[in-house]
Symmetry: D2
Subunit: 321 residues, 4 copies
């Protein structure tokens, strides 16, 4: 359940306020140059620090503790760990509130109260840090493919509004994949859309995804929607399908958008159920939080996309004669 991928497979562990978080990357071919330095630029991109992101500071220094030798991958599992400086084992006292929009209540129910509640436990955005590191390795497996994601400018006004009102905001992140060869994606169940969405919905806050003009397409006519081929390399005049037909890449850019809900932690008062007093009461959440976690997600979206593509690319290679 905490693993993803078939050949290129990652296994994630840790909690927000536990001793460390990390990821094991299996299935990486031997002989790829790799060091911690290769991970730093993407880790930096993910870091807090924008005026709408959390003030929790962690040094976020990756340590690769297995799977490399003399600066190259060995073909055996690579573990990357991050120490939690905010490690905490305090005697947590439940105050009766499960924070609205958080996994507090569902985790409590799922694990019969044995979940680690500190800082959201495994459900923290902090868990995306090892994913970004794993994504850097995935990107090395598909070196000619470019993956780039950014938040849409139309979201910024809402973010400013949220800052001004002690509130939080969501956002839309568009991801574009260039130079992905045609033929990637496995019918019937492991289509590009299936695997990318599976990976992307692991990111806390992701609530919708569309490929190409997926949402608008539901209101189109076929004659408007169809992307006609214009040259022998399969290039199409339009790209409504987002570069994917029948779940398989067609050689055009793959484009998809992820919709993130607003950060659930807000400084504003909320009325919600107190399970100690058994009545609805005011809740005011303190602490460090992102006004807009979505601002930090483009590099995370890229990472999970790269992880899915690396796996599909290795599978494609395996099954080519």
């Amino acid at each position: 359940m905490n693993s993803f991928g078939n050949i290129f497979r990652i296994t994630l562990y840790g909690e927000s306020h536990g001793k460390e978080i990390g990821v094991v990357v299996d299935g990486c071919p031997a002989g790829i140059p790799l060091s911690e330095n290769d991970l730093l630029p993407d880790i930096e991109r993910r870091k807090t620090g924008g005026h709408a992101t959390s003030t929790r500071t962690e040094s976020d220094i990756p340590e690769i503790r297995s799977g490399i030798y003399r600066g190259h991958t060995t073909g055996t599992p690579i573990i990357i760990i991050f120490k939690n400086e905010n490690f905490c084992d305090e005697d947590y006292q439940f105050d009766g509130f499960f924070r609205p929009g958080h996994a507090d209540y569902t985790a409590y129910r799922k694990y019969n109260g044995y979940n680690n509640p500190l800082g959201g436990g495994q459900f923290s955005g902090r868990m995306t840090l090892p994913l970004v590191a794993a994504g850097c390795i995935a990107k090395k497996i598909i070196p000619t493919t470019e993956i780039s994601a950014h938040i849409l400018p139309e979201c910024l006004a809402n973010i400013e509004k949220a800052i001004a009102s002690n509130d939080s905001a969501g956002g839309i992140v568009e991801c574009r994949i260039r130079n992905l060869e045609a033929g990637i994606g496995e019918p019937f169940f492991d289509s590009l859309e299936s695997l990318i969405s599976h990976a992307i919905f692991s990111i806390p806050g992701a609530k919708a995804i569309e490929f190409g003009n997926g949402i608008a397409s539901a209101s189109m006519l076929g004659s408007e929607y169809n992307d006609c081929i214009v040259s022998s390399d399969g290039k199409t005049a339009t790209n409504n399908c987002g570069g994917i037909n029948g779940g398989i890449s067609n050689g055009n850019d793959v484009v998809f958008r992820t919709y993130f809900h607003p950060t659930p932690s807000i400084a504003k008062k909320q009325k919600t159920f107190n399970f100690n007093t058994m009545q609805v009461e005011d809740l005011k959440i303190n602490g460090r939080h992102d006004t807009c976690f979505a601002l930090r997600t483009p590099v995370i979206v890229e990472a999970l996309t790269a992880i899915a593509l690396a796996d599909l690319t290795l599978i494609s290679k395996a099954t080519k004669l």
Copy 2:
């Protein structure tokens, strides 16, 4: 790649114009009453026949050929097959055109020309028939959970327009899951959203999915979005999150919408590349096609949802003390 699920696992096979299509259902507990009759109502719902759906007629009679004995499941794999009456092994001649919006081109590229092109091969909507049958078994594993999907009425005007203009239309299908216990869904990678979207994007034509008000949420403030709990059973005042927090069911209705693009086959002329003449030419597609395949998808959406939920429910049962 043609299997889905961990414990409750289905394996799909067949092609549109091959001898038969079918599904193997593994991991089904022994002792569940089951016969072909149990599959008929959902198969009927999927069938063609509406004025905007294909006129291809197949009897769609399911045959269970293993895994049941004396009217009950035996615990061993259940195979359900459907004979193709439109079986065809003709000497297909490539006319130079890969139909726009179809998997013709990508399948050709992926399989180096060895794919079965007749009727779309494995990429046909016909492959959803065994999925509907498997979904009926899945529903029996979670008998108290109700899953119901329907196309949104706002799509109907566009469909009428498509009929009138020899064109095709897409559609939006909303699915609601009632009485799903809290605690279903596996962090980190096998969240409810991840597994449902993985399954749903197997349906030909699915191009976007949103959970709850996922699309709108990206433009909301946190104070608008958060679903506050109002009673001790976890019921919330609003349901913007679609019944899922942190990837886990919270005991409220799970709601999601799937966006289908228009059926790519249209009677209207399209300009696209002819790989024989190596230039862009007019293409006119004949044959039987759905004006709006989305009209047939609600029962398919239900089936894939049930399959994902059955698997997650068995996993949840396995890991409860």
Copy 3:
């Protein structure tokens, strides 16, 4: 549970006296020439007919019903089915006896009495027929590797003794793999020994396996056991390790032996518990049975070996730079 393999994956279904038995083969590359005729020689080798094998006669005609087009694999799942001519849906009456050495009792317990008891249900040696067919496809994926198995002549005396005394016999099958490239096998858990033994123990009656001189090696000294390399291609002077070091092929012949227990069905009287009368009584089993099922297993051992090797070879290809 009824699937085996990671990339090259087979799914088995059916029961001894059900309507049909079969196998779905997924992950087979597109473009491999394949027809039913290719399956016949190995199917023939498996057939009953020797003087120490069962007199049940089935035509054992394979039908490939998906996944091939114009004489080649399409890259999509291949289903191979065998109709059961001995299909039976009689009103079975439990006579109080679970046959000694059979899965009658364990299947009853596992499936709470819902298992199909006719002819052993899923636990019949008949289930190895689709495996032999799948093995033929696997062999085509590793065309330069030769796999050949045979029963050791030292077993024949015991078989003659069994025939003479209305009894049954076991046997030892040796399998030799020639021309397997060095480097096949995946540490840590998917070593050659792990995957081959996993596959081989699927064969009814297999109770022990040794690689190279595995059994004797436990009583050797290191100086006797070690296989020293004698040339630059890795050839060794001896082959005590059976061509496998650290779970990975070393380029020498891979050799292993499988030990099969005697066929449990014997015409001789046995004293065993009657669950109707609740006391130990005489049981005499009638019907058609192999005196020595092991005689039929060499081609089955080859098939399962080929299946494991095909999968490991595809994985090796995927993870090579």
Copy 4:
């Protein structure tokens, strides 16, 4: 490839002389009491120290760095790490020799020379340390089942002979599982024998396995082999099948024996190929080595058995109505 298990799943990482070794344990139910102390007795049993085992000393202190909170499992992945005090990143110079019986040559071939050769890299017996720790958690999932393994006394004479002659010895380890309920094991491919052997052959040096009297059974008659039931709880008069029929536990003790080859590193001179000089030469191996690694394996055998049984038990629970 470095993961094992379906629901209860372990992922192993690390190298003999890398920074650390460890294991991630996923699928463990929430609420099980667990601390590092619970791991110490089995770790101690595995440790070097007998007069026929290596003198390499490592403190072998386990650190659980995720997945527990307030002394209980949380349901999320548990990572257990062991620091390598013998960490080494020296500038290794290949001396032309691949040690006979080791994975040196096969690892070199598999990973194109990118493997970590220090101390055997991932192929070291040290990798069994995290497995023993994971086994302790597995044992807690099946608390009423007793697993106990020991080396057969008949091996001791050979070990003494090896010590006296600067040589090494193999050994046979018998494992007995008491109180395993009937019905555990999944046909067709995930039988008890298949999964136990898959797990056991991960242990360096394992070269053969037999269940019950598997080896002898191949030379028996059916009337000698069959285990007749003698009471209503399924107890049998004999136990030739080792408690397993049709791949499923029958409620009697499960018994199997693993055959380990001698430790390949010996102080005695060996003649083997020098890839620098391209001729066969004398090789003398120095360093700390077990005279008989098999002596340390009983607790490892238990651990891998427990891991396989924990997984099968969770699957059995999932698929019971």
